[in-house]
């Protein structure tokens, strides 16, 4: 299964992975199967498990992208990443059996089975964007954990990075749902409020559509995301009565939930959703008599997710440190006494703990460290070898890249490419 030295030197994209593809996929499948059939429909108290849907499909997708299938185009081929349900089981069973979904989430999931695909897609989009935004930082949003904690212990610490993860994945879900609505894949957008049950009266929805059009897709996306994602972050005492307490299994870890973490996560989820709203652009078209503006129609257009990621990153830099006040009900207040009067806006990210420096590996608190990260010798930003490696120095490697270059494009798709070979040095932290 290992690459030969020559292949490793060549570092061909797809080297080694093509051989590992099948076995890796089986591995992922087995792990998920085991986790599903072992744990069953229990309520774990980790809130971030739904993100694993995205993380898992990310793993499968990065494998799938490298292999070039023998394009059989005659029948319905699957889309880019084989969605979770096509790997394993149909959405209904997945809703019931996937570990880590709360009762509320299972209910929403069962009522609209297509949701599980979109949640997975949304989580994947969020994770990819998170990794892109932090690719030059010491903590690079890597998926290192398991089903319960896809990002490791950082999910439980309540620092800025946690806030960012919650916000960006929440925004990713909204993005995916809205996109799905625009494509027409989801038939419940707009006119139907996500009641959880399919509407018995289709006529009613049609009347609303005919009368005044339907609400914006993005509003539906936000509502659905709120229902699904937030229900996972609420640990209500009532739900613990309905399902028995889970036996400590290998996958669920006993977690100590600090007071205020739930409120913080909910706030950051909402901040992520507001990000999408504030990123929407308004476009208008005049179409009255003789093309005058007596009649103007405006609509909202979704920006690219990269812009949402930029917005989230700037909110992350301006995060607000809060403390928990537990007098009557749990509330979050600014830590800085001088500005305590200022209301915390709904689109600001809040955190409770200062971030550690992510330099040295520390398994207990889930820090991977920066050893082995690729750094840029000539840069002066945070990905320079000096900053990224925390002064430990770097190793130099020579790699030979073989890739397609000088491609001639026709508006979307490549037509003709050359094959270029480049030999470069890459630097990795010690």
């Amino acid at each position: 299964m290992e690459c030969s030295n020559k292949e490793r030197q060549n570092r061909l994209i797809g080297c080694c992975k093509s051989r590992m593809d099948l076995s890796y996929r089986c591995f992922v499948v087995c792990i998920l199967c085991i986790s599903i059939f072992l744990s069953g429909p229990t309520k774990t108290d980790a809130s971030a498990t739904w993100m694993w849907l995205g993380a898992a499909s990310l793993g499968a997708a990065s494998v799938g992208r490298d292999t070039i299938p023998d394009g059989s185009l005659g029948h319905q081929t699957a889309t880019q990443a084989p969605p979770i349900n096509s790997i394993l089981v149909d959405p209904e069973t997945l809703c019931q059996r996937f570990p880590g979904l709360t009762v509320e989430q299972r209910r929403v999931c069962s009522s609209t089975p297509e949701i599980i695909n979109m949640i997975s897609e949304g989580a994947k989009v969020g994770i990819i964007e998170c990794q892109r935004q932090f690719s030059t930082e010491r903590w690079n949003c890597s998926v290192i954990g398991d089903v319960n904690n896809p990002f490791g212990e950082v999910m439980n610490t309540g620092n800025k990075e946690t806030a960012f993860i919650y916000a960006i994945t929440s925004a990713g879900v909204v993005y995916a749902v809205t996109r799905s609505c625009s494509l027409g894949n989801l038939t419940e957008c707009g006119c139907a409020t996500p009641r959880g049950q399919p509407s018995d009266d289709v006529v009613d929805d049609d009347e609303e559509w005919k009368w005044g059009g339907c609400t914006d897709d993005v509003d539906y996306g936000i509502k659905l995301a709120r229902k699904f994602v937030d229900s996972g972050d609420k640990y209500s005492s009532s739900s613990s009565l309905s399902s028995p307490s889970p036996p400590p299994s290998a996958l669920s870890r006993p977690l100590t939930i600090k007071p205020g973490v739930q409120e913080m996560n909910l706030h950051n989820n909402e901040a992520g959703r507001q990000l999408i709203k504030s990123g929407m652009k308004t476009l208008c078209r005049c179409h009255g008599v003789s093309a005058s503006c007596s009649l103007k129609t405006c609509w909202k257009a979704m920006p690219s997710f990269k812009e949402i990621g930029d917005l989230a990153k700037s909110r992350y830099s301006e995060g607000v440190e809060v403390v928990v006040r537990t007098k009557k009900q749990i509330r979050l207040r600014r830590k800085d006494r001088r500005v305590r009067r200022e209301v915390i806006a709904s689109d600001e990210l809040v955190y409770m703990q200062r971030s550690p420096n992510y330099c040295r590996t520390n398994r207990e608190i889930g820090i991977v460290g920066t050893t082995g990260r690729e750094c840029n010798r000539t840069s002066t930003g945070s990905d320079s070898c000096d900053l990224l490696c925390c002064g430990r120095g770097y190793n130099t490697q020579v790699i030979r890249r073989v890739e397609r270059c000088d491609c001639k494009f026709i508006w979307c798709c490549k037509v003709k490419c050359r094959v270029c070979e480049t030999v470069t040095d890459i630097y990795t932290c010690k």
């Binding site: 490793r8 550690p356 420096n357 330099c359 010798r377 945070s382 070898c385 000096d386 900053l387 925390c390 002064g391 430990r392 120095g393 770097y394 190793n395 130099t396 490697q397 020579v398 040095d425 630097y427 010690k430």
Partner: protein, 354 residues
Amino acid sequence: MQTTLMHVILTSLFFLHTCVICGSASKWLAIFNMQALGISTIKSPDNCEELPGLVNKQIQICKRNLEVMDSVSLGANLAIMECQTQFQNRRWNCSTVDGSVFGQVLDNGTREAAFVNAISAAGVAHAVTRGCSSGELEKCGCDRTVGGNSADGFVWAGCSDNVAYGVQFSQTFVDAMERKTRATLERRLMNLHNNEAGRRTIEDNMRMECKCHGVSGSCEMKTCWKSMPTFGDIGQVLKEKFDGATEVQSLKIGSRQQLVPRNADFKPHTSSDLVYLVPSPDFCEEDLKGSLGTHGRRCNKTSKAIDGCELMCCGRGFNTHIEEVIERCSCKFHWCCYVKCRNCHRTVEVHTCK
């Protein structure tokens, strides 16, 4: 009488001290502080004997090249100053310890030891070459091999730095240490390699300086000569090599032991790269090895690099106090040269590690 007794006691203590610790190969650097030992300049062969930290071979060289030794001392000084400049923002800041120059910190073959070796060899070479060019030394002068016309049409003239002599002297003097210590073969190989790397830095970064003297100052006619980079540049280059140093181990290849990179994936080192044997400790706390720790070090609150308070203080936290800085400001020049300045008071926040 009393002073000489003091000298004897101090030097003997020094020798004692140096005998105890073996393996620290830069003991000869103690030469930088000749003044502390009361030696203002080396005039007679007896002074050579008084110099601390030299092995026999080095003393022989000293006796044979008395006039060069002042340059050597200057070179050692340069090296230590440059080391402290380059490392001022790191946890180990090349601080000298009374007694044996850097303490026991450099006993292991770490990157820091590699740097110190390289910079000291380069320092000696630089100072000796400088001495040659300025005419202080009789045995050498300008580089005569560079002369005539060049391909581009200018004339080699001026005084090109005689780097060859300086490098040669440095090699003879500094490397003499390595052949005589009780260190392991690995360590000796490493030191020799790093010394060579330091000297090569000077050779690889030689610059060409020109002066135009054609018609009305144009560059029709140029006089050029080769000159050494400033020692600050050399320090910079060596610091970069320090960052990218390769971890090596010694393997028997053929009939000899050679240093090869520990990890076969990584790019093999060249003779101008620094190598080291073991990873450095984190220099956070004082320990018996001689690390001074970072308690009380000044740190920069806003930086995210290793001079930032988070990393410098190793997570212990830092204290802040306000200092008043008096500096000269609003300097005015009076018609040519006389400068009149005021004293400005400024309050700055100073952060020190706990």
